[in-house]
C-alpha cells in the first residue's frame, strides 16, 4: 500500500478541506483561504496549559499542540489520512512494518532542518514509559525502528498490525527537534505554523506566525493571543463584548446559547466519551455483580442533558459513533433500568452497609461533573444505596484521579473514534501501567481482548470488536455514559477558515478574518 500526495494536489486538498469544513459546522461561514484577512486572533481558554510536551495529549494542552507542532500525518474530519510531515508512507504487505518518507523542506522554529534523527529522538521519548506520556501505550506495538537516511524512517512491529492502527500511530507522532526533547516541557521545539512569543503563566500565551512554515500560504494570521479565564461565564461575556474573537473548549451550554445568538459554533469529530471509572481493587467494586449493576444505573439521557446540554450521544461503550467498534445495540441492552440494577446488586451478596461503603470522587471545579455525579447519587438513593460525594478541587481531584485514589469517579476518555485498541491510551483502560487498576491487570480477559483486536485481520476483525465490547460491559471497570463535545469553538461571525481536527485540537493556521 502506498500513498503519495503531489504538492499541487496537497494544496488542492487543503483548499477543499477549508471549503468543505463549514458543512460540518452547526453554523459557519463559507469562505476560502484567499478571502481571509490576516490579523491577531484573540482566543479565550478556560485553563492554562500544563506544558509544551505534545506527547502529553491532555485537553488543557489542546490549544497549542497543532499550532506549535505538526504530526507525521493528519486525518481529515472524515478520518481519511493525509500527508503532513510525512510526504508518503508505505505499509508492508505483511503489516509488520511501515516506511515513512519525510518532507525535506521542513524547519523547526530554531531554524534547523527536520530529519529522520528528529523522528528517532521523538520515537525514543514515546517508547520510554516515564517520558512517553500518552504516546507510550500507542508505541506498544513497535518492536524497533530504523533511519536509513535523512528522510526515511522504518518502523518494525512486534506482530502484524492492522492498517488503521498503524495510521493512528503516525497521526499521533508529533515530531520534536532532537536537541529540544529533554527540555520539551518548558520550551517548545516544533515545526508548527506559530512560534511561542510570550507567556504569562496562568494568564496569557502569545504566538507569532512562523514565517518559514512549510505549508504554502499558511498561517494566515499574524499571531494568536490566548487569554486564560477561570470562569466560563466571564469568557463568554468577553466574546460577546468583542474582547475576544474566539473561545475554545468552553461549556456546551454556553455554546448552545451563543449559537442561538448568531455566533459560529464549530463542533469537530473528536468527541470524548464520559466514563464512570470504577476502581475494581477497592471496596464493594471488587464484586463483579455489584460493578455490573452500574451498566443499568446510569441515567444516560439525564446525564447528557444536564451535563452537556444535549450535545452528544448516549453510549454504553467507550466509542464515538464513527468508531468501527461502535455497537448501538448495547445502548438499548444497557439502558437505565433500576430493577435490573437492583437484581444485580442483590446477586452480589453484599450487605447494605457494604454497598454504601464508598464515595464518588467529584471534581468540584467542574459544574458538569458535580451535576452528573449527583444524578448517579440520586439513582443510587432510589434503590436504597446512599453514598457521599467526595468533592475535591481541580488539582486535588487530578492527583487522586491519576493515582487511582478513588472508588469511582467520572472522567472523559479520548481516541474513541480511532482504532479501538487506542482506548487503552486512557488511564482507566490501560492494559499495562494502569494507575488505577495497577499491575498485573486485574481483568486479564480485557487485556486479551485488546490483544485480539490488535492482531485480528479480515473476517476476525468484527469478532474481535464484539468480544471486546462484551468484555468491557462484563468486567465493568468503566461504565460509559455519553459522548460529548470537547474543544468546542465558538467564534465571532467574522472569523473563518476552520479546519476540523480529528481530535478537536485548535488548528489556527487556516483561520483568518472575513473583513
Amino acid at each position: 500500500m502506498r500513498m503519495t500526495f503531489l504538492p499541487s494536489l496537497r494544496v488542492m486538498g487543503v483548499a477543499l478541506m477549508a471549503a468543505s469544513a463549514p458543512l460540518s459546522l452547526t453554523m459557519g461561514s463559507t469562505v476560502l483561504a484567499q478571502d481571509l484577512q490576516t490579523g491577531t486572533l484573540r482566543v479565550g481558554t478556560l485553563n492554562d496549559i500544563a506544558n509544551y510536551d505534545p506527547q502529553q495529549f491532555s485537553t488543557i494542552n489542546f490549544p497549542l499542540i497543532k499550532n506549535l507542532y505538526d504530526s507525521l500525518i493528519e486525518y481529515t474530519e472524515n478520518g481519511e489520512p493525509v500527508p503532513s510531515l510525512a510526504e508518503s508512507w508505505e505499509i508492508a504487505e505483511d503489516n509488520r512494518s511501515v516506511t515513512v518518507t519525510l518532507r525535506d523542506d521542513v524547519t523547526f522554529h530554531s531554524g534547523k532542518t527536520m530529519t529522520s534523527a528528529d523522528v528517532d529522538a521523538t520515537l525514543q521519548k514515546g517508547a520510554n514509559p516515564e517520558r512517553g506520556k500518552n504516546v507510550f501505550a500507542t508505541m506498544a506495538v513497535v518492536e524497533n525502528w530504523e533511519t536509513p537516511d535523512a528522510t526515511t524512517v522504518k518502523l518494525n512491529f512486534k506482530q502484524a498490525v492492522p492498517d488503521k492502527q498503524i495510521l493512528d500511530l503516525l497521526q499521533f507522532l508529533i515530531v520534536l527537534e532532537a536537541e529540544g526533547v529533554d527540555n520539551i516541557e518548558a520550551v517548545p521545539a516544533g515545526t508548527g505554523p506559530f512560534k511561542l512569543a510570550n507567556r504569562v503563566v496562568g494568564q496569557s500565551i502569545t504566538l507569532e506566525a512562523n514565517e518559514n512554515y512549510w505549508r504554502e500560504g499558511e498561517p494566515i494570521l499574524e499571531g494568536v493571543e490566548f487569554t486564560v479565564f477561570t470562569e466560563d461565564a466571564s469568557m463568554t461575556a468577553a466574546l460577546e463584548s468583542d474582547a475576544l474573537d474566539l473561545i475554545y473548549n468552553g461549556s456546551s451550554r454556553a455554546a448552545v446559547r451563543l449559537r442561538d445568538a448568531g455566533y459560529t459554533v464549530v463542533a469537530g469529530p473528536g468527541k470524548l466519551v464520559q466514563v464512570f471509572r470504577i476502581n475494581t481493587t477497592r471496596g464493594p467494586f471488587q464484586n463483579e455483580s455489584f460493578r455490573q449493576a452500574f451498566n443499568y444505573l446510569m441515567d444516560r439521557d439525564a446525564i447528557l442533558r444536564v451535563g452537556y446540554a444535549g450535545l452528544g450521544e448516549v453510549t454504553a461503550l467507550p466509542w464515538a459513533p464513527a468508531s468501527p467498534a461502535a455497537d448501538p445495540a448495547y445502548n438499548e441492552t444497557y439502558a437505565y433500568n433500576l430493577d435490573k440494577a437492583k437484581e444485580l446488586l442483590d446477586a452480589s451478596g453484599l450487605s447494605d452497609a457494604e454497598k454504601s461503603d464508598w464515595t464518588i470522587l467529584t471534581n468540584g471545579g467542574q459544574e458538569d461533573a458535580v451535576a452528573i455525579s449527583q444524578i448517579v447519587q440520586g439513582s443510587l438513593a432510589e434503590i436504597g444505596i446512599n453514598v457521599e460525594l467526595d468533592v475535591r478541587q481541580s488539582a486535588e481531584f487530578t492527583t487522586a484521579l491519576l493515582a487511582g485514589d478513588f472508588f469511582a469517579t467520572f472522567g472523559g476518555v479520548g481516541n474513541v473514534q480511532k482504532f479501538p485498541s487506542r482506548v487503552a491510551t486512557n488511564s482507566i483502560y490501560r492494559t499495562v501501567n494502569n494507575p488505577v487498576l495497577k499491575d498485573p491487570h486485574p481483568h486479564p480477559e480485557y487485556v486479551a481482548a485488546i490483544e485480539q483486536v490488535n492482531s485480528a485481520f479480515g473476517e476476525d476483525v468484527q469478532a474481535a470488536y464484539d468480544n471486546l465490547n462484551k468484555v468491557l460491559v462484563e468486567s465493568a471497570f468503566g461504565i460509559p455514559t455519553n459522548s460529548y463535545e470537547t474543544g468546542l469553538i465558538v467564534a465571532a461571525p467574522d472569523v473563518g477558515g476552520f479546519t476540523l481536527d480529528i481530535d478537536n485540537l485548535l488548528v489556527a493556521r487556516t483561520l483568518g478574518f472575513t473583513n
Binding site: 466560563d232 461565564a233 461549556s251 451550554r253 446559547r257 441515567d299 439521557d301 439525564a302 442533558r305 444536564v306 468540584g364 471545579g365 459544574e367 458535580v370 451535576a371 449527583q374 444524578i375 447519587q377 440520586g378 438513593a381 457521599e388 460525594l389 468533592v391 478541587q393
Partner: protein, 293 residues
C-alpha cells in the same frame, strides 16, 4: 421572673416598636420555623426530576426547579436549615471561646491580657475567608468543618467586645464590693461582670449571625462549603449563576432570601444597638444585675 428575662422582654418589646426591626424579626422567625419544621412540609430538596429541569416558577414549584429538576423552594427552605445551623454553631463556638478570653484578659490585665490579645490579634490579621478555607482544607469539606471555620473567625470580635466591657466594669463599685466580701475572681468574672456585659454581647451575637451566614454562603459559592447534594444558599448561587440566561430565577430567588436574611439580622442588630445606647444614655443600662440601684 428573672431579671435577665425581664430585660430580654423589655428589649424585645422595644424592638417590636420599630417597624423595620419588627419586620425583620417576623421574617427571621418565619425562616427559622420553616427550617426547623421543614421535615413536616411537603418539600423534598433531593428528589430529582430531570425531565422537569429548569422550570420557571409555577403552581407546583413556586421558585421553579434547578438543573436536576429539584424544587428550588424546597432547597431554599432546607438551605435555611444549613445556614442557620452553621450560624448558630459558629456563634456558639465564637462566644464560648471569645467571651472567656475577653473576660480573663480584661479582668486580670498584665501579661495574661498581653498574651491573649496578641493571640486575638493574630486571628484578626488573617482574612476570615482565607482562614476558613484553610481550615476546611485541613478538616475536609463538611457542614461541621464550615461551622468550625466560621466560628473560629468570629472569636476575636467576642473577645474584644467582652474585654472592653470588662475594662469598663472592672473598677465599678459593685465589682469592688464583691471582691471585698471575698468573692473569688471566677465568681466575679462569671457571676458579677458577665451578667452586666450581656447587652453588647447580644448585639454581637446578632451581628455575627449575619456574618456567619454570609461567610457560609461565600464558602459554598467558592465550592468549599457543605458538599452537594445538601442544600445551601451559597451552593445554589454558585450553580445558579451558570444558568442566569436560561433560568435567572434559579440564582435570583435564593439570592433574595439570603439578602433578606442578612438584612434582617443587621436591622435587628442596629436596632438593638440603638435601644441599648438609649438605655445607656438614660442610665438604665448601667444597673448591675441584682443591684437595688
Amino acid at each position: 421572673m428573672k431579671k435577665w428575662l425581664q430585660a430580654l422582654r423589655r428589649n424585645l418589646v422595644a424592638l417590636m416598636r420599630r417597624p423595620g426591626a419588627a419586620l425583620s424579626v417576623i421574617f427571621l422567625l418565619a425562616i427559622t420555623l420553616a427550617a426547623i419544621f421543614a421535615d413536616f412540609l411537603p418539600l423534598d430538596p433531593l428528589r430529582q426530576r430531570v425531565a422537569n429541569a429548569l422550570m420557571p416558577p409555577n403552581g407546583t414549584n413556586w421558585f421553579g426547579t434547578d438543573e436536576l429538576g429539584r424544587d428550588i423552594i424546597a432547597r431554599v427552605v432546607y438551605g435555611a436549615r444549613t445556614s442557620l445551623i452553621t450560624a448558630a454553631g459558629a456563634v456558639a463556638i465564637a462566644a464560648a471561646v471569645g467571651v472567656p478570653i475577653g473576660l480573663v484578659a480584661g479582668f486580670f490585665g498584665g501579661w495574661r491580657d498581653a498574651v491573649l490579645m496578641r493571640f486575638i490579634d493574630v486571628l484578626l490579621a488573617l482574612p476570615g475567608i482565607l482562614f476558613a478555607m484553610a481550615m476546611i482544607a485541613v478538616l475536609g469539606r463538611s457542614q461541621l468543618a464550615a461551622l468550625i471555620a466560621v466560628g473560629v473567625t468570629g472569636i476575636p470580635s467576642f473577645a474584644r467586645i467582652t474585654r472592653a466591657q470588662v475594662l469598663a466594669l472592672r473598677k465599678r463599685d459593685f465589682v469592688t464590693a464583691v471582691e471585698s466580701f471575698g468573692g473569688s475572681s471566677g465568681y466575679n468574672m462569671f457571676r458579677t461582670i458577665l451578667p452586666n456585659s450581656w447587652s453588647p454581647i447580644l448585639v454581637q451575637v446578632v451581628v455575627l449571625s449575619s456574618v456567619a451566614i454570609l461567610l457560609e454562603a461565600a464558602l459554598a459559592f467558592l465550592g468549599v462549603g457543605v458538599p452537594p447534594p445538601t442544600p445551601s444558599w451559597g451552593e445554589m448561587l454558585r450553580t445558579g449563576k451558570n444558568y442566569l440566561y436560561e433560568a435567572p430565577y434559579y440564582a435570583i430567588l435564593p439570592g433574595i432570601v439570603l439578602t433578606l436574611t442578612i438584612l434582617s439580622f443587621d436591622t435587628i442588630g442596629r436596632a438593638l444597638t440603638e435601644i441599648l445606647e438609649d438605655r445607656h444614655d438614660t442610665g438604665a443600662g448601667l444597673k448591675p444585675e441584682g443591684s437595688k440601684a
